[in-house]
């Protein structure tokens, strides 16, 4: 058991900064409301250090509060896919040669109405991202990047056509949970066609967590700061796992 609390400048002082807006006029009453609200979250002390008017009936607050709540760090299970242990391009290519013995095929796209291609490009394009080459540069991988706003249907058809091992989906826009609708539709489509097990399904995007992706029926989900290395490592290991099963 390793108990941790927020830290300001002394161990376990529990200091947290907060800011938020309330739909009330700015003033002493608003500040007191803000303070009480923070205390209602279980904070032991709260100082509202700033308030300002945003509009007639809206005001913003900055507060510093102190919590006594703690968490057992030992019990926390990290659930992010990009492990520190990813292989780099050379290692992945070597792994493919040794354990798979053929080129693997990967298809990717920004699906639905999403047109944010920079993320999927970072994973797939030759030049990659932040000095990590993209999948197109891997000698053991044939990578097809279909770009923006690709309907799920079309993506699956294409994946079948090129005999893909894995399908990569990028979802950046999350407003009103569009990404969830779209990812769900993708998996349902695959299942309806009896193809779910045919592909390794990988989702990615800045607001995509592994947990969420797995819940929605993907094999894995990758968030902020992913590199092609992480994705490639996951795919090749998964292929070998599937071969064995």
């Amino acid at each position: 058991m390793h108990v941790v609390r927020p830290y300001g400048d002394t161990m376990d002082d529990g200091k947290v900064q907060l800011s938020f807006t309330l739909p009330v006029p700015n003033g002493a009453k608003g500040r007191e409301a803000a303070r009480k609200l923070v205390l209602s979250w279980g904070f032991k002390e709260c100082e509202v250090v700033h308030s300002t008017v945003l509009a007639d009936d809206f005001s913003m607050y900055v507060a510093y509060a102190k919590t006594e709540q703690s968490i057992d760090y030992d019990s926390v299970v990290a659930d992010e896919a990009s492990a520190d242990a990813s292989m780099d391009m050379e290692a992945v290519d070597a792994f493919i040669k040794e354990h798979i013995g053929r080129k693997i095929v990967v298809v990717g796209a920004c699906t639905g109405f999403d047109a944010h291609t920079v993320g999927i490009d970072a994973i797939m394009n030759m030049k990659g991202f932040n000095h990590h080459y993209g999948l197109e540069r891997y000698t053991g991988i044939d990578a097809y990047n279909l770009g923006a706003q690709v309907p799920n249907e079309k993506l699956i058809d294409y994946a079948l056509k090129v005999k893909a091992d894995a399908i990569l989906i990028s979802q950046v826009v999350t407003q009103k949970d569009t990404h969830i609708h779209n990812m769900t539709e993708f998996v349902e489509l695959l299942e309806a066609k009896g193809l779910r097990e045919r592909f390794i399904c990988v989702a990615g995007g800045p607001r995509i967590g592994n947990k969420l992706a797995v819940e929605l029926g993907f094999d894995v989900g990758f968030g902020r700061g992913t590199y092609a290395d992480d994705v490639a490592t996951f795919i090749v290991k998964k292929i070998v796992e599937k071969q064995k099963a």
């Binding site: 800011s19 938020f20 807006t21 300002t52 945003l54 509009a55 007639d56 809206f58 913003m60 109405f113 999403d114 047109a115 291609t117 920079v118 923006a148 706003q149 826009v173 407003q175 009103k176 569009t178 800045p206 902020r224």
Partner: protein, 523 residues
């Protein structure tokens, strides 16, 4: 204006000549063509409005009827048949719209005497022209009345709730916080709709549908808060995507003051067919010019898509092209809000100097243009504190180079569409920085042969060689070969190609004629 960068006038002139040479064959092509949305825009100016029970707008119904009746019927211009129906039925415009919405097919009505059509059309032109001129006069009056009360540069804030009524609340708050310009962001993917939805809307993703009713609602709200704040609050929307000219028309009718509108954005960033886009952008710009609406071009998109340091020259090249196409649509420099952006990797050494250089270069090359400067977005992260610092420097550069329209950066750019408080923090930061450094522009000079000066010369040189290549290749082919924004767009590919129309010998578009005349575009 005194120069700080000492860019050779000959080079700038040369770039402008290249832009003219590049645009010229395109303009020739444009002038021979129309499109479904150009026709619908003309119909809207004529008064076509409303929608059928399925939500198909009347302008679309009319154009679809003509297409369905005879694939070449549109070559005569849709206004011909719409006015014909008016004359024939003796209906008011409103009555005809209702009739069309109910199923009446204008394509099936034999043509009356052309004289009659021309005469009726002239009336409609006058009605529309009076309304638009009235809008323009009202704007000028208010701007005169509230002279000196706006910020310089104009502070531009977006609202994007998806619900026009929520947008109104956000916009009111933003205006009272100090915004000069409110842009209602459109819902994801509206740009790819080949129609403009009808009526007030409350369901959008990451933005709100652009509809004429939504324009009206927001315009009224901003006029009201403007009276209170004693500032004319400009309203912006998107004359962009597959309905460029229609939205320009709606904006002209509802007194929008600015329009996102780029000559190539749709092609490169929305995969809209290139011919279609070029045709659409011209007619929309003619409308904007007549309405006194400032266009905002989309050069920032080059920088979010590619590396902002490496590809700086694509911005300048695009500015030259946007300027050329704008002139050829009758838009004077003071209505050309050419775009650029503060999008370099914040970890670049000297990066601030390069940004300053780029912004100053735009200022000097386009001295009369109300440059629209976009904030950092791509390198914003969940680190809202770092983001705030980046926005502070962005605000600095904007003021330090006298930009015209300043799009406020949000500290939560990488997290969510702006909260009300994010927007406030953005305005507050900009007002602090800009008031504090008032006078900086006039007080500072750049060292000859320094980093800032050299960078500008360098970018200009690169721009010219790039434009020379485009000129040699031809713009259509250059786009096809991926010279712009690292994307390749086939000439006959992309969305909306099927909506392109070759103008027939009897092509009738009295609105276009009127605009051409008024804008001095008659050959």
């Amino acid at each position: 204006m005194s120069t700080k960068l000492h860019l050779p006038k000959e080079s700038i002139d040369h770039a402008r000549q290249l832009a003219r040479a590049i645009a010229s064959p395109v303009v020739d092509f444009i002038d021979k063509h129309s499109s479904v949305t150009v026709e619908r825009a003309a119909l809207r100016l004529a008064g076509a409005d409303g929608a059928n029970p399925d939500g198909v707008p009347v302008p679309n119904l009319v154009v679809d009827q003509l297409r369905a009746a005879d694939p070449t019927m549109l070559e005569d211009g849709a206004v011909l048949r719409y006015v014909n129906a008016l004359v024939r039925t003796g209906d008011s415009v409103g009555a005809l719209n209702a009739r069309v919405a109910a199923g009446y097919n204008v394509a099936q009505q034999p043509l009356v005497d052309r004289e009659k059509i021309v005469k009726k059309a002239a009336e409609l032109v006058t009605t529309a022209a009076d309304r638009i001129k009235g809008n323009r006069a009202h704007r000028e009056l208010k701007q005169e009345e509230f002279h000196g009360r706006n910020n310089s540069p104009l502070l531009y804030l977006i609202v994007a709730t998806g619900n026009i009524y929520e947008d109104v609340k956000q916009a009111r708050a933003a205006a009272s916080q100090g915004a000069d310009v409110i842009a209602v962001i459109r819902t994801t993917a509206q740009s790819l709709l080949d129609y403009v939805p009808f009526g007030p809307t409350t369901e959008g993703f990451g933005g709100t549908y652009a509809t004429q009713e939504n324009f009206r609602i927001m315009r009224a709200a901003l006029d009201e808060v403007g009276e209170k704040e004693k500032r004319y609050i400009l309203l912006t929307n998107y004359a962009s995507g597959l309905c460029m000219p229609e939205i320009a028309a709606m904006g002209a009718l509802e007194r929008l003051d600015m329009m996102l509108n780029d000559s190539m954005y749709g092609i490169l960033f929305r995969d809209i067919n290139m011919y279609r886009t070029f045709v659409d952008q011209k007619f929309s710009r003619m409308i904007d010019a007549y309405a006194g609406s400032i266009i905002n071009t989309g050069e920032d998109n080059y920088l979010t898509t590619s590396d902002a340091f490496e590809k700086a020259y694509t911005v300048l090249a695009s500015q030259f092209l946007n300027e050329r196409f704008a002139y050829s649509a009758g838009l004077p420099a003071r209505l050309q809000g050419l775009g650029h952006a503060f999008e370099m990797d914040p970890s670049i050494k000297n990066g601030f100097l390069y940004e300053l250089s780029q912004a100053q270069m735009a200022r000097e090359i386009f001295p009369e243009h109300p440059l629209k400067y976009m904030p950092p977005t791509k390198f914003m992260s969940g680190d809202v504190f770092k983001g705030l610092a980046m926005n502070t420097l962005f605000n600095f550069v904007s003021k330090a180079t006298n930009q015209g329209i300043h799009l406020l950066g949000m500290l939560t750019e990488a997290v969510h569409t702006p909260f009300m408080m994010d927007r406030f923090l953005a305005v507050d930061n900009a007002r602090y920085v800009m008031n504090n450094m008032e006078g900086f522009y006039d007080d500072i000079e750049f060292k000859k042969d320094g980093i800032i000066v050299n960078r500008a010369h360098d970018v200009l040189t690169k721009t010219i060689s790039f434009m020379e290549e485009v000129e040699k290749t031809g713009l259509f082919d250059a786009i096809e070969q991926g010279l712009f924004a690292e994307v390749k767009r086939p000439k006959d590919g992309g969305k909306g190609f099927e909506g392109l129309i070759k103008k027939g010998p009897a092509y009738f578009n009295p609105f276009e004629d009127h605009l051409k005349r008024e804008l001095g575009l008659e050959r």
